[in-house]
């Protein structure tokens, strides 16, 4: 297991360097000069332009700029936002807990509902439940997030008044962030009703964000289960007279988990992408909206730093997924 872990960690290094290069290059490949964008319709004089170029360090060769960025990253310094003049690192960690909290709730919903749904559908293959479930999964998968979110807001917040329209907690509650996770902070604050309010605010956005991964996980679980259920050892287990729940749950599901876990790992990337829309609609103060705004403003340090951090998160999650394979399937860790 240790060798497996080390070999996985070693592949991390070239990927990390690659991610640094891509993050740095991505925003620079886009057309549009950040200084011109900043000046807007007003424009600016040639001298002033030159002054700003020097101030931002754009007059230096690209390779020098990249080296500065790269060595900064190694020291935990992602640079300072052109716009807010605050360190990118601080901004990222002020906003990231919100995204993490939302993504975590979404992935929990997706797994808790998606796994059993996929298993039940596979076991009842071709029957009504299977068809109904797979059709709704297809609908869920193809749903435009933007429209789906607004629909839920109009029904549950507008018409029924069950959930708040947007935000993380009622404006009534006011306490400084400790962990950045509203569920935890609201408990720590000790204010009556704060935790309930935080939960109520989480419901709609997590459902919206969970929709696509839920559909994907349910479909993937179903097809993996179907494949496993046709295997000889399942027939053996059945013929030995094992109870169907034990066969399906223990023998089949465990073996069907490998592709499902892969999908869950990949969903994390998808969640972060989906979070951009979900966060915008629900006024959720996470990194999605922050990144989009900074792309529009050509705020180079934020875009490259944010991209790098998100890529790192995805890499870490996939590393964990790889390690989980090893736990579930001994064959993999011995390889």
């Amino acid at each position: 297991m240790l060798r497996f872990l080390i070999s996985r960690l070693l592949t991390f290094i070239p990927t990390f360097i690659g991610v640094c290069i891509i993050s740095f290059a991505f925003i620079r490949v886009l057309p549009g000069d950040p200084i011109v964008v900043m000046a807007g319709e007003r424009g600016l004089s040639d001298e002033r332009y030159q002054e700003m170029v020097e101030q931002f360090g754009f007059d230096r060769p690209l390779i020098v700029q990249f080296w500065d960025f790269f060595t900064g990253v190694l020291q935990g310094d992602l640079g300072t936002s052109f716009v807010t003049k605050r360190p990118v690192f601080d901004e990222f960690f002020a906003l990231f807990p919100a995204t993490l909290e939302l993504s975590f709730c979404a992935i929990v919903i997706a797994i808790v509902l998606g796994l059993p749904a996929g298993v039940i559908a596979a076991v009842n293959r071709g029957k009504f439940f299977d068809r109904a479930l797979m059709s709704s999964a297809l609908v869920g998968y193809s749903m435009p997030i933007f429209w789906w979110a607004l629909l839920l807001i109009i029904i549950f917040s507008g018409n029924l008044g069950w959930t708040p329209v947007s935000g993380r907690i009622d404006l009534l509650y006011f306490f400084p962030p400790v962990t950045g996770f509203m569920l935890i902070d609201s408990l720590l604050s000790g204010q009556d009703g704060a935790f309930t309010s935080a939960v109520r605010h989480l419901i709609l956005p997590s459902i919206v964000l969970a929709t696509i991964p839920l559909a994907v996980i349910a479909r993937q679980t179903r097809s993996a289960m179907l494949e496993v259920l046709g295997e000889d050892y399942i027939r053996t287990a059945r013929s030995k007279g094992l109870a169907p729940p034990r066969v399906n749950g223990l023998h089949a599901l465990r073996n069907a988990m490998i592709p499902v876990i892969t999908v869950i790992g990949l969903s994390v990337g998808m969640l972060l992408a989906g979070a951009i829309l979900t966060e915008t609609i629900f006024s959720w103060p996470g990194i999605g909206k922050w990144m989009v705004d900074s792309i529009y403003r050509r705020d180079y340090p934020v875009v490259q730093g944010g991209l790098l951090m998100v890529a790192l998160m995805v890499m870490v999650v996939n590393l964990i997924v790889d390690l989980t394979y090893g736990l579930i399937n001994p064959k993999i860790r011995k390889r």
């Binding site: 029924l160 069950w162 947007s166 935000g167």
Partner: protein, 524 residues
């Protein structure tokens, strides 16, 4: 419990909760985005000014809310010298700065604060854009402290809009004492993060992309202002969601509704929709340096081919009005006697033929971004393309990424007519006519590259005259010349809508685009 009962119970609970949130008179404004920071001198975006300069700071002069009139604020009065190059401000006494955890002011506002607030913007490496863009660096020769409560600005030339410039957001007055204290503590960025001002509200807390909180400044120098105890900005980027929040009572005022929602809002009894013409203009600028657009008759003919009413209906969905002048109708000196070019494709075709132009093909540039003065440039360009084809002119639509667009469209060699616009900074006609149509702007903000001597002489003279009346006469004349010469097709001024809850009293839509809550109160 039946579903109905559950629903009733939950909605009562929700009402109670939101009721509690608004107790102790808290005004909630669903703002459209996060501010870039809280030091207004560093930025140019309206969203930033709404959150910084309006609630937290004051300026020497200010715009009367709801108008573009310049009124005294931290300066009680001012005198302009005969030659127009010295402006002396008598400062208001007894004005208190806010305090926070790190700072308690030891003295009231005085001349040192004024001098500090401007001089810091002249230091090399200063990254604020507005001060330079308004030409203040070249204009201000020096600032003299006459005594503690008097400052004198020495100017390099007489400049009538100067006093109005000082009412702009970048001219907000900072506390020198606070700046010094933060400099000493090694945290000068606190000016931008934990702002201290003299304004009606003091800064309490900010969570990026979520909420900004302010508390009433109990020591505010203007009696009876502000009228609410707390001000909260609930940052809500999506317009449809703002609408839902407003109608659910989660906020009292929202800016920038979707044009498509306005009709539904107007028929909703829980929402009052206020409206005012925006201080902006959207235009199509020909490149008057290139043939055949150097001929005013050709430009005039093309203008007559454009069906502006269709543009208002389709692109603005009614939330705009046809523009006939380069300045908006709410601005002083607007010449209403001018007649717009009629929409007449046949006459236009004839004029083109008379000018000896046939088989004309041209480019029309469409901006890639939404602006109040042009919510959908692509669609506008398509309508213009259709109109032009009626008179036999072939139009190719081009567009670029926004930064590229701004850069390339400013090029004197540019091929084609450009869709662009302008939103006023200081309510002064000079801010439109000189910036957008003056000879200095050729190859820059003057996208028509139009330098016309009779026009230029008028606006240059108007800038040096002391009274608004004398200046207005010249600007009115300049608009006549503009119309004859037609360097642009003036297309539209937007109409600004502000949906507010019925309990909101005293809110005024501000023509300069800011959202200001000093005078707003909430009915019981």
């Amino acid at each position: 419990m039946s579903l109905k009962k559950i629903m009733a119970a939950t909605s009562v609970a929700t009402m109670l909760m939101s009721g509690a949130a608004f107790a102790q008179s808290t005004l909630v404004y669903c703002s459209e985005g996060s501010p870039e920071g809280f030091d207004p001198a560093l930025y140019t975006a309206g969203t930033t000014f709404d959150a910084s300069s309006h609630p937290i700071y004051n300026r020497l002069t200010e715009f009367e809310i709801g108008t573009t009139n310049v009124i005294p604020a931290l300066a009680e009065s001012w005198d302009v010298s005969e030659d127009g190059t010295e402006v002396t401000f008598n400062l208001r006494s007894g004005v208190k700065f806010h305090s926070n955890d790190m700072f308690t002011p030891s003295r009231d506002f005085n001349a040192d604060d004024v001098i500090y607030s401007f001089e810091r913007q002249t230091v090399e490496g200063w990254s604020g854009e507005y001060f330079t863009a308004m030409g203040m660096g070249d204009l201000i020769e020096s600032i003299e402290k006459v005594d503690d409560m008097t400052v004198k600005f020495h100017l390099t030339q007489p400049e009538a809009p100067f006093v109005a410039n000082l009412a702009m957001d970048f001219a907000s007055i900072q506390s020198k004492e606070y700046a010094d204290a933060m400099e000493e503590a090694g945290t000068p960025e606190m000016l931008n993060q934990q702002p201290i001002g003299t304004g009606p509200f003091s800064f309490v807390a900010y969570q990026k992309d979520a909420v900004i909180r302010y508390a009433k400044n109990a020591d505010y120098w203007k009696d009876g202002v502000p009228k609410v105890d707390n001000l909260v900005f609930a940052i809500t980027p999506d317009a449809s969601v703002r609408y839902q929040k407003l109608s659910a009572g989660e906020c009292h005022i929202m800016p920038y509704p979707n044009p498509a929602d306005i009709e539904a809002m107007q028929s909703d009894e829980n929402i009052n929709v206020m409206e005012q013409e925006g201080l902006n203009v959207g235009y199509l600028a020909y490149n008057t340096m290139q043939e055949p657009f150097d001929n005013p008759d050709v430009r005039k003919a093309l203008n007559m081919a454009i069906d502006k009413q269709a543009i208002i209906d389709v692109v603005f969905q009614g939330s705009g009005q046809i523009a006939k002048n380069p300045i908006p109708p709410t601005m002083w000196s607007y010449n209403d006697a001018i007649e717009d070019d009629p929409y007449d494709p046949e006459a236009a075709q004839q004029m083109l033929a008379d000018a000896g132009v046939s088989d004309l093909s041209m480019k029309v540039w469409a901006m890639p971004v939404q602006r109040p003065y042009n919510p959908n440039a692509r669609r506008m360009a398509e309508l213009i393309q259709e109109d032009m084809s009626q008179i036999g002119v072939d139009v190719e639509i081009v567009t670029f990424e926004w930064g590229e667009y701004l850069e390339r469209s400013a090029d004197e060699e540019r091929d084609g007519a450009v869709l662009l616009g302008w939103t006023g900074d200081n309510g002064d006609p000079d801010n439109f006519l000189a910036v957008l149509l003056g000879c200095d702007g050729v190859g820059g903000s003057n996208r028509a590259n139009w330098c016309h001597e009779p026009f230029q002489d008028l606006i240059a003279e108007a800038k040096t005259l002391p009274t608004q009346e004398e200046r207005a006469a010249l600007y009115e004349e300049a608009q006549v010349i503009f119309k004859e010469q037609a360097p642009w097709a003036t297309i539209a001024h937007s109409v600004v809508y502000m949906p507010v809850r019925p309990e909101v009293e005293g809110y005024k839509v501000h023509p300069l685009g800011g959202h200001i809550f000093n005078e707003v109160s909430l009915a019981e």
